[in-house]
């Protein structure tokens, strides 16, 4: 009884995939449903060049990776300090950061624009990186701090007796132990930054600095009616996300649903 409805379930993403393959057809009008008789691979090459996809990938990668690294570095230190050391402001600091979880950064985009402008960071990848790092701090701290709370204190005590400085303890004990939490944070942060369109739209004007999301948008604006090229560009642009998903689906799903499940 339920089985027939699964077909629809599968239908949806496959629809996406099958029809993405239309990209190589010159005459979409004549052969709407079938795979093209003479696949026009040239479309892909054209789209790659004209949509400046190499550039887009490069920029997206730089921004996403840098954000990922900064977020993990900063928040793991912060979470360690908050989780494992007693001082009076501990709870207050944590609540302060948690406030950030509830505040959608998008709503402050006007002052953010002015702020980055005054720092001379608009239209730079560095500015984007700083911005994305700040935005992703609360979630990461939330995950890491809660994870660190479960690390038994005896381990740290032992390391201290052995004469380790906090920094050494951090590096040699905390970080390796937190690998699962760090990978969740890493994945979620990377994907969120890669997929973002809003902030690049507002802050980046120079086409050479556009990440893939913005690049495709520009491309669509410039080549409005050249359907095959548009489809090809979309396929190429979606590739990294799909490939990433193919390799990391389990971790990705776990990470992205962290916010809602327990």
């Amino acid at each position: 009884m339920l089985l027939c409805l699964y077909a629809f379930n599968v239908f949806m993403p496959f629809l996406m995939m099958i029809f993405n393959s239309f990209k190589t057809v010159r005459d979409l009008f004549l052969y709407p449903f079938s795979f093209p008789l003479r696949p026009e691979t040239n479309n892909f090459i054209e789209a790659w060049k004209r949509a400046r996809l190499a550039n887009g990938y490069k920029n997206s990668l730089i921004v996403s990776l840098s954000t990922l690294v900064s977020v993990i570095a900063l928040t793991s230190m912060f979470a360690y300090a908050i989780s494992k050391h007693e001082f009076c402001l501990r709870r207050l600091l944590f609540s302060y950061i948690m406030l950030g979880l509830a505040l959608p950064a998008r709503l402050a985009v006007v002052p953010l624009f002015l702020l980055l402008n005054s720092l001379g960071l608009t239209d730079t990848l560095f500015g984007l990186i700083i911005l994305f790092t700040a935005i992703n701090l609360p979630f990461s701290i939330f995950i890491l701090k809660n994870f660190m709370d479960t690390i038994p204190n005896e381990l740290i005590e032992a390391a201290k007796i052995d004469g380790g400085s906090p920094f050494q303890i951090y590096r040699k004990i905390i970080l390796p132990l937190c690998k699962p939490a760090i990978s969740i944070v890493g994945i979620v942060t990377f994907v969120n930054v890669w997929n973002d369109f809003f902030f690049p739209l507002i802050f980046i004007n120079d086409k050479s600095k556009a990440p893939v999301t913005l690049g495709i948008s520009i491309f669509f604006g410039e080549y409005g009616n050249e359907w095959p090229l548009l489809f090809a560009a979309l396929t190429l642009a979606m590739m990294p996300s799909l490939v990433l998903y193919a390799f990391l689906s389990r971790q990705l799903i776990a990470g992205m649903t962290q916010g809602a499940i327990k």
């Binding site: 409805l5 379930n9 900063l74 007693e86 505040l103 002052p111 809003f198």
Partner: protein, 305 residues
């Protein structure tokens, strides 16, 4: 037993905390207050901002912009209601199906989340092509199966456009809700389900009386998230109909309205960052209470672990 702080440790701790704090305060906390402050000014880009008190708000709520504002607002509400119905409603049933122990069900789990991975903006562009009246497969499919009359200009019809966009959103996002609901369903102890079957419950009764009530808390959390996201929606509209939210502003939402007022675009009467800030204050007031509720729930659940 926690350790006590020694002087040298204190230095390290400060080192660990300060960079994060600075970044956070400077780029998250400060801009939000600044946004509130800015909403009391008028600043058309060039020149200096001038203090105008409540004028921006007056313009938005009772003045020349009120029609656009409330138009957008009701679209957001419509977006929320429809999206919730579809994503949670259909999502729930898909989750129930996925929870059964049929062989290799987990493949579907992986498949249904795929659209979630793609940047929303790309999903929007892709579907804008699919829905194109001439070359999009939607209309071609309809024509092929003989429903020629239904082949409409989906995104060009003021009555249909928003609903169509919502459907695309459902297509893209439903995976998330399915997976969360699935986890909730799988948390139900098997004995309960077995007991229900032994008492002679049919599948449908099982769903209605056992599964659904036990997953209600999850629905609550998801609704909150959906609400927040519905009011923040922007990319999909931008990709599918542009920031002008055509046709005739029938797809306008607060996000696009904000973008037009703060940064301009063809056909917007006024470009005023102060006015834009006022729009964000409005969105903020709507979304904030629920956001806080959500974080409070999260905290509560973490502490219950």
């Amino acid at each position: 037993m926690k350790t006590k702080i020694k002087k040298k440790e204190k230095k390290y701790i400060l080192l660990f905390i300060i960079p994060t704090l600075i970044l956070y305060t400077l780029f998250i906390i400060y801009p939000l207050f600044s946004s509130l402050a800015l909403s009391f000014y008028s600043w058309p880009g060039a020149g200096k901002p001038t203090f105008v008190g409540l004028r921006n708000f007056r313009m938005l709520f009772v003045g020349p912009f009120s029609k656009e504002l409330f138009n957008a607002f009701f679209h957001n509400v419509y977006f929320f209601i429809l999206t919730s119905l579809f994503e949670l409603g259909i999502g729930f049933f898909i989750a129930v199906m996925l929870a059964t122990k049929i062989k290799r069900i987990s493949i579907f789990k992986t498949i249904i989340y795929i659209p979630n991975m793609i940047p929303i903006i790309l999903v929007g562009f892709m579907w804008s092509l699919f829905l194109n009246p001439q070359i999009g497969f939607v209309n071609q499919l309809l024509r092929a199966i003989g429903l020629k009359n239904l082949a409409k200009p989906w995104l060009g019809d003021p009555n249909l456009a928003l609903t169509v966009i919502i459907l695309v959103n459902v297509w893209r996002s439903i995976g998330f809700y399915v997976l969360v609901l699935l986890a909730a369903i799988q948390n139900i102890p098997l004995d309960l389900i077995e007991a229900a079957y032994m008492d002679g419950a049919s599948n449908w009764q099982l769903i209605r009386k056992v599964i659904f009530p036990l997953t209600l808390p999850t629905f609550r959390t998801l609704l909150i998230l959906l609400f927040i996201w519905s009011f923040n929606t922007f990319e999909l509209i931008y990709a599918m109909v542009g920031v002008q939210a055509g046709p005739f502003r029938s797809t306008d939402v607060l996000g696009t309205l904000f973008y037009r007022t703060a940064f301009g675009g063809l056909g917007s009467a006024v470009v005023d960052m102060g006015l834009g800030a006022a729009v964000t204050v409005f969105i903020f007031c709507i979304v904030m209470p629920l956001s806080i509720l959500y974080v409070v729930y999260k905290e509560k659940r973490e502490s219950e672990r």
